[in-house]
Symmetry: C2
Subunit: 160 residues, 2 copies
């Protein structure tokens, strides 16, 4: 499978996403979780497996673990080192061409900020939230509003 | 834009489809219309334009001509000679990898049958309808049932 084929497929079907999870044990009460994923019908499992093989990372799982209604699969890469060393260089070599390219670039920017530990400083973490919410059509699909995270950040000052 | 990129993009976003239109002026009362198309949000117009350029055929239009609600665009190739000489050889050179590959192969088969004028004979036309309805997940998206076409074919015997 050609790398450009994968780029074209991902440009239509893939997603570069930063999830936010409530984590009271962490410094600001929230964790930013970068994730690359591709959703597909189960009939396209082979393609997901081939992409996984070529990217040399990630895993494939059923979206609905019980498999009762939702018959879709998802290929996921969440490991930060895999994202830095495998996923990002891959899409630098085989570029995207739709608007998703901007999402990829913002995704990379956030991961680079996290690599520099910017997310450990309140201003850096705020910036990451703002960039993340500007991605994927301004996050219209998100359940949680950006303000819900920004206003509930527990700064280290507050904790002390 | 690399040809493999286009194949990957089409594998996710494109469609090989045989439409059926009521045409009382034609031999069997129906026309089979092969069509290749790619739907996209208007933000991806550039990609559609680049694909159109590389395939050297087809046109781009708004799905909703008035552009009021539906902001999507569609790249369409309906010209049979373009399908035979440009679209089909392109996806033979840059192969699809999902289940859509089967749809492409059935689409090609129907176009080859039509090139041999099989659709001018009632048995050939019936066969084309049956193949067309086996495409794209057995045509679950179709408004019209296969039987509605098969039972209303006006054979030349009937006309005479």
């Amino acid at each position: 499978m050609n790398g450009h084929y994968i780029a074209g497929f991902v440009d239509g079907e893939g997603s570069f996403h930063i999830a936010f999870q409530k984590r009271d044990d962490l410094k600001f009460g929230w964790q930013a979780v970068p994730e690359f994923h591709i959703n597909q019908n189960f009939t396209s499992r082979k393609v997901l497996e081939e992409i996984k093989k070529q990217l040399r990372c990630g895993y494939i799982k059923a979206n609905d673990a019980l498999g009762k209604r939702d018959k879709t699969l998802v290929y996921v890469v969440r490991d930060r080192l895999d994202l830095i060393e495998k996923v990002i260089p891959f899409f630098e070599r085989f570029p995207l061409h739709t608007e998703k390219r901007k999402d990829f670039e913002l995704f990379r920017k956030i991961i680079q900020m996290m690599k520099k530990n910017d997310h450990m400083k309140i201003e850096g973490f705020r910036k990451i939230i703002q960039i993340a919410y500007s991605m994927n059509a301004d996050g219209i699909y998100r359940k949680r509003k950006m303000e819900d995270i920004l206003t509930t950040l527990t700064s280290s000052e507050t904790i002390r």
